[in-house]
């Protein structure tokens, strides 16, 4: 009798309960790992910030290094901030003028531009530029110091790197950013005057008189206060990313890049919170 070939069993495309449970547990493990990495990161940053506070208020402040950092952060960022501020003012004026002209409100241009620049555009643009320039600089510098063992060398020279490198940079960024924003605002309004003069003839003194006439204390004060927080956020994130960089040279690039991304995002979040608080107070 001829034997029949056994019919091959069809492979089921529906995963078995065992396969499904394995996939589910793998997914759960992945999510658990992501959650634990995130929470560990939050914990690390919290300890880092706590250490910054602790070292700021313990004896022997590194004043010379602090001044050097103020120069590096403040003075060396000034040309970029000035040019950006002026261009921002020119563009904003040129873009706003036709809309105001439609309503016959061209005379309100200086006041409107000044309020916009001082309340929002000046701080946020300066914050984002500084997040890019200062944040990446700190991330890359500290990251490369870590990779080339300079931070270890500092430690064996009986110097606290947290005090010498981190505290000085964070305080310098916190104090320099409001000053940079003031410059940015001033150059922005000046740029606005240039923009206004492109299609007309406006006296500089009159323009500034009208611009500052529209500004009151509550336009200026919250805007400056929030820039201290912008500076602190940029300083902490830039230093944290650089200080905790890995050992390879690749980690220097990663530290610089993530410092820019995270500090830019945080600047925008801080701005949103500051606007909400200001709105509640008014």
């Amino acid at each position: 009798m001829k034997k029949l070939n056994p019919v091959p069993r069809m492979k089921s495309f529906v995963p078995s309960i065992r396969e499904q449970s394995i996939r589910l547990s793998e997914k759960t493990m992945e999510e658990k790992e992501i959650a634990s990495t995130f929470l560990l990161g939050v914990g690390d940053v919290t300890i880092f910030v706590k250490d910054i506070f602790k070292e700021t208020f313990t004896r022997r402040f590194e004043f010379k290094e602090f001044l050097r950092q103020c120069y590096e952060i403040g003075n060396k960022s000034l040309p970029l901030i000035a040019v950006t501020g002026a261009i921002m003012g020119i563009v904003f004026t040129i873009q706003s003028r036709p809309s105001l002209a439609k309503f016959g409100a061209e005379s309100m241009l200086p006041g409107m531009v000044a309020v916009s620049i001082i309340r929002e555009i000046g701080p946020i643009i300066t914050g984002l530029i500084c997040a890019g320039k200062i944040g990446s600089g700190m991330g890359a510098e500290l990251g490369s110091m870590k990779v080339t063992e300079q931070i270890d060398a500092m430690e064996v020279s009986a110097t606290n790197p947290m005090k010498y490198l981190i505290v000085t940079r964070v305080i310098a960024a916190t104090l320099m950013l409001p000053i940079l924003v003031l410059f940015s605002d001033a150059f922005g309004i000046f740029g606005s005057w240039i923009g206004a003069n492109m299609k007309g003839n406006v006296n500089l003194v009159l323009f500034f008189y009208q611009a500052f006439g529209a500004i009151n204390f509550m336009d200026f004060f919250p805007a400056i206060i929030k820039t201290f927080f912008f500076g602190a956020v940029i300083g902490v994130v830039g230093c944290y990313k650089g200080y905790t960089a890995g050992r390879g040279t690749e980690s220097v690039g990663i530290a610089a890049n993530s410092a820019v991304v995270v500090s830019s995002l945080l600047v925008i979040i801080v701005d949103m919170i500051a606007v909400q608080i200001t709105d509640m107070l008014q």
Binding site: T148, E149, D152, V156, A158, T159
Partner: protein
């Protein structure tokens, strides 16, 4: 300050060497996660000797010397440096101990943003706070003369070659008159001629500054030139300890592969 340091050195030198080691390590264990890097490592460094620690890359040599100055915390065992148990020191006490221990890093670790002069001033101003400007300048010139780079005073680290960076790094280490020197791969990445010069410099430092040194290396020529005693690590454990001649004569395949 210089006098007080000299007195301190004389006191240490007066200690009977075989009885009281400068560094005494017992059953040291260090792991990174599940990877055990050092397992029950014990060693002694005696006064005035050069102890070379040999081993393949990844055998735990650098971790060992980083534990000695608590750049890394260890899991168990004891490290006693100049009579102090390293793990139990407060930060202030640890910094005082670190002032007496010089550390030459594998990558030289010169501060990129500072000139050679500022690099040398950095530890000196922090450790010898009462030195005046002239004393600091004299000390800088002295150590630069000793490493043969007196003309590099105002150069930036980026303007120096690998060998010059190593020399300046050595100058920065010896400027504070350490009692113990820890060299982490001092000749790595250097050409044979410069490596020989660095090895000779290590011996000069030992004689002139009367230091006791641990030299971490896998460069046999450097080991031959500098070692009073050799200790070999394999997979985080002490594989063999003895005189360089013992290693030269050994028939062990691993040791022969190093000393061929």
């Amino acid at each position: 300050m210089m006098n007080s340091q000299t007195d301190h050195r004389e006191n240490v030198s007066a200690v009977k060497t075989p009885l009281k080691p400068m560094i005494e390590i017992n059953n040291l264990r260090k792991a990174f996660g599940t990877q055990e890097v050092l397992r029950n490592v014990s060693l002694n460094l005696y006064n005035g000797e050069n102890l070379v620690v040999l081993g393949k890359s990844g055998s735990g040599k650098s971790v060992l010397i980083k534990c000695m100055v608590r750049l890394l915390n260890y899991d168990s065992g004891t490290i006693n440096v100049l009579g102090n148990e390293v793990s139990s020191l407060s930060m202030k006490e640890l910094n005082e101990l670190r002032m007496k221990v010089g550390f030459l890093f594998q990558s030289s670790a010169l501060y990129d943003s500072m000139t050679v002069k500022q690099n040398l001033e950095f530890p000196l101003r922090r450790i010898n706070k009462e030195l005046n400007e002239k004393e600091i300048d004299d000390k800088i010139h002295e150590v630069l003369e000793n490493v043969g780079l007196a003309e590099s005073l105002n150069k930036m680290p980026s303007q120096l070659s690998g060998g010059m960076r190593k020399r300046i790094s050595l100058a920065r280490t010896i400027i504070v008159d350490p009692l113990i020197m820890l060299y982490d791969e001092p000749t790595t990445g250097l050409d044979p001629v410069t490596s020989d010069e660095i090895s000779a410099l290590i011996n000069e430092v030992q004689k002139k500054y009367k230091t006791s040194s641990i030299i971490i290396t896998h460069d046999i020529e450097c080991a031959r030139a500098t070692a009073n005693r050799v200790l070999m690590l394999k997979d985080g454990e002490v594989y063999l300890e003895g005189k360089i001649e013992d290693f030269n004569k050994s028939t062990d395949p691993l040791i022969k592969s190093f000393f061929k």
